[in-house]
């Protein structure tokens, strides 16, 4: 938030400087956008599209569609969407939208009072180095304005589908960077505490004794993002390139890509135990999840993982990829209400492994329903004709009644078999009902021929939330109060755990080179939220995800053991890197960044890291001003500021008292103040805080002295915090005017 105020001040001064220019381009666009668009809109008296055509500037973000020239913009607006003058919305959040506007109408579009700001869409960059730069990790690696941090001395733990131990990004001249590798899929010499799978040490890997393979490629990719060192290709370096790596291949079969809750806990415990033995801090990447569960951090998995988190031992989890699916529906209710929702059923057998009986033609639709406070009297499962919307069948029950595979008939034929279980969950005290509607493998029973309604009569006031499938978009006639579906609370588990850091995804690439030529990502705009990125809040009301990071499209290490022929358009020309998207890909950007933070301060707690993220995440035109929210969390990852804050708090008494080598003058000061240190020592950063500890100004630096303007400071006493190559120093500054 402090940084936001500083940025706000900068933006305000920019607006003031351009206020004399009446052009909406000058007043509503950033400098880069204004530079490009000003000569176009000032091409007075002529068709601006002709200008574009004449100057042959038909390249992104300009495009021709049906002989009309459009420009693609990211806009901030207030209230409803402004008039688009024949353009269209590409994607939008509540106050930010990516739009395509006819160039001839650009002036009119920008002149609308509801358009607050506009930026040209940017094209994406071609490799991992762009997402690394985007989050500020390069500055941290090279020590620009902050101590140089690369993850050295920190364990990056990856619990996933395995790792390609032969990929050059996971080794140095001294051999493998992987200190331990536990392969749960293949039995051999298992870890001492865990009697399954095979454990390999660094020595085993160096001697070529590891038989482990990552057939899926997912684990290799996330490990590359978090900790790859770019030995295969320097620009593909990951976020913590000098961290040590511990990998748990958490699948029980080589070709699987799903993980068992109990194994996840064991895998994380194993990584932390190894880190403890080595005397190193550790961060674990969990690019996995499921949308089932209480969504309040009280599942046993989430409790267990939260309990594994300790000072210097942190876990990062993917928010989930359900952001486009309005599978959640919820409402608060009063006593004596009749409420319900219409559902277009989806076959959950395709979504959840081992969820359905292994029989041909099986179709099961399901609803996971949670009640907080209040009680429910009766529950009804109703089938409606999808053409006439008349009810054709109904099953009613008192809540708590066990219903097991009961036939529901319509017009003398079975239209589904219904099971309902309701329990009181002792971890959170809430009632939990689970509904299954199945065809039991009978292909003549077509569940999705019907619209289904789940309806409830209420006894006392409370809140219902259900995860049930896709809601029916039409306004159907109803004899009850309808609550409709939305994408809220699509955050998965274990991301909703109380002590895990949950990560959403935004776009940082839409164009890349591949083995099958140049590819593009369907007009994705730079910096916007990934549409798939799951949203919060958690059911107990916490903001989720905590933050967002680059997750679409990310190029990182490709496993040589995975099938590549079917994904040539995603494989880099050299075959060593692979481009995919998902909150899975965003998560290791955060895991790597937390490794940098742990290098600066090895005992950082979950609460400290969360506080830094909450205060120092990035806000921009794409996130909008209204942060935190349940799409972006507290904003975009900022490795530079996170690392800087971790460094600034990593002080000891010696640092605090060792002030003799720092000079600050004049003091008292008026309009300028200079800080200097002895030759040979570098000042990385100078921060000025008020007596309440609020950051007033900050300056990055690369020499042995730094001068700051104190003109804007009022009379009073301030703290000056100087980060140098010799340590952190604190001085008192007095301003007198």
């Amino acid at each position: 938030m402090k940084k936001f105020l500083l940025l706000l001040a900068l933006c305000a001064s920019t607006t003031f400087a351009s206020a004399a220019n009446v052009s909406p381009v000058a007043t509503k666009c950033n400098a880069r956008t204004a530079m490009v668009l000003t000569p176009i809109v000032e091409y007075q008296g002529k068709n601006v599209a002709d200008y574009i055509l004449a100057t042959q500037k038909i390249q992104f973000p300009f495009m021709t569609l049906n002989n009309t020239v459009y420009v693609q913009l990211l806009i901030q607006h207030r209230g409803t969407m402004p008039e688009l003058f024949g353009g269209e919305i590409i994607t939008q959040t509540s106050s930010v939208a990516a739009v395509r506007i006819p160039l001839n109408s650009l002036q009119q579009f920008l002149q609308q009072e509801t358009v607050i700001a506009a930026e040209l869409s940017q094209r994406f960059k071609k490799s991992m180095d762009e997402s690394r730069k985007e989050i500020g990790a390069d500055r941290v690696h090279s020590g620009q304005g902050v101590a140089k941090l690369t993850g050295k001395g920190v364990i990056v733990g990856v619990y996933d589908t395995g790792i390609d131990t032969k990929h050059p990004d996971f080794s140095t001249e001294s051999g493998s960077r992987i200190l331990y590798l536990w392969d749960m899929a293949n039995d051999g010499k298992s870890p001492a505490k865990y009697p399954w799978g095979t454990e390999y040490t660094k020595a085993d890997i160096d001697q070529g004794a590891s038989q482990e393979k990552d057939f899926d490629g997912h684990g290799t990719h996330v490990a590359g993002t978090a900790a790859g060192n770019g030995r295969g290709k320097a620009e593909m370096k990951g976020i913590a390139p000098e961290a040590d790596i511990i990998v748990v291949k958490g699948v029980r079969e080589d070709n699987e890509s799903s993980f068992d809750d109990a194994d996840i806990i064991a895998g994380c415990a194993y990584i932390f135990e190894k880190a403890q033995e080595l005397g190193k801090p550790a961060v674990i990447n969990l690019s996995l999840g499921s949308v089932l569960g209480p969504h309040d951090g009280t599942s046993a998995l989430e409790i267990a993982l939260s309990e594994l988190v300790q000072p210097g031992k942190l876990i990062i989890a993917a928010a989930g990829n359900e952001g486009t699916l309005p599978i959640h529906a919820g409402t608060s209710y009063q006593a004596g209400e009749n409420i319900g929702t219409y559902i277009s059923p989806i076959n959950v057998c395709d979504l959840f492994e081992n969820f359905c009986p292994d029989i041909p033609n099986i179709f099961v639709t399901a609803a996971d329903i949670w009640f907080k406070g209040g009680s429910i009297d009766s529950m009804y499962i109703e089938a409606y004709s999808s053409t006439s919307f008349s009810m054709v069948g109904r099953l009613g029950m008192a809540v708590g009644d066990a219903v097991d595979n009961v036939e529901l008939n319509a017009n003398n034929k079975v239209i589904g078999y219904i099971s309902v279980t309701t329990i009181n969950n002792s971890n959170n005290g809430d009632d939990n009902s689970f509904i299954r509607i199945s065809n039991n493998g009978n292909e003549d029973i077509i569940i999705d021929d019907y619209v289904w309604a789940y309806r409830f009569t209420t006894k006392s006031a409370g809140q219902i939330d259900m995860w049930a499938g896709i809601p029916v978009p039409q306004d159907l006639p109803a004899t009850f109060r309808v609550f409709t579906g939305n994408t809220d609370m699509t955050i998965g588990s274990p991301a909703s755990a109380k002590k895990l850091i949950s990560v959403g995804s935004y776009v940082t690439k839409n164009e890349w080179d591949s083995k099958s030529g140049k590819q593009s990502g369907n007009n994705l705009s730079l910096g916007v939220i990934s549409t798939f990125s799951s949203k919060g809040p958690t059911r107990d009301g916490r903001i989720a995800p905590l933050l967002t990071a680059p997750g679409e499209v990310i190029f990182a290490a490709a496993s040589s053991d995975m099938e590549q022929d079917d994904k040539l358009n995603r494989i880099s020309p050299d075959g060593m890197y692979y481009g995919i998207e998902g909150t899975s890909m965003a998560t290791p950007h955060v895991a790597g960044t937390v490794a940098l933070m742990l290098q600066a301060r090895p005992t950082l707690t979950f609460e400290q890291v969360s506080d830094i993220i909450k205060e120092w995440s990035r806000k921009d035109a794409r996130t909008g001003e209204n942060l935190p929210n349940n799409t972006w969390g507290y904003g975009k990852i900022d490795a530079y500021f996170y690392a800087l804050q971790s460094t600034l708090t990593s002080v000891n008494e010696e640092n605090y008292t060792n002030n003799n080598s720092v000079n600050i003058y004049p003091n008292p000061a008026y309009d300028n103040v200079t800080v200097s240190v002895a030759d040979g020592i570098t000042i990385h950063n100078v921060m000025v805080t008020d007596i309440a500890g609020n950051t007033i100004m900050q300056k990055a630096n690369t020499s042995s002295s730094a001068t700051l303007s104190s003109a804007s400071l009022s009379n009073g006493v301030y703290g000056v915090h100087i980060l140098t190559s010799a340590g952190l120093h604190h001085k008192v500054l007095t301003i007198v005017k």
């Binding site: 806990i265 089932l292 409790i303 971890n427 689970f434």
Partner: protein, 93 residues
């Protein structure tokens, strides 16, 4: 060891485990479960171990274990056991 009553197990099982146990009639089939406790120390570990389950890993209030229905019934009857959840799948994201 008297572990015959199944009602406590049903009461303390979350939905997926209850459904699995209802469908699974064979008594000797083992299930991997996550058991939430009101604290898990040496004393609790000793008591749970006597039920015959195999403990995989424990945090201060969650223990993952493998056991048959009879063994889990025995665990569920311990007063410090809050709930039993079936270990379920998570997928890559």
């Amino acid at each position: 060891m008297n572990c015959s009553s199944s009602s406590v197990l049903e009461q303390k099982s979350t939905r997926a485990l209850r459904e699995t146990l209802a469908q699974q009639t064979a008594e000797d089939v083992s299930h991997t479960v996550l058991v939430t406790m009101q604290g898990f120390g040496d004393e609790q570990k000793k008591e749970v171990s006597l039920c015959g389950v195999s403990i995989i890993v424990a945090t201060p209030s969650v223990v993952t274990m493998i056991g048959t229905r009879e063994e889990l019934e025995c665990v569920a009857k311990k007063p410090f056991v809050k709930s039993l959840e079936l270990s379920q799948n998570k997928k890559t994201q």
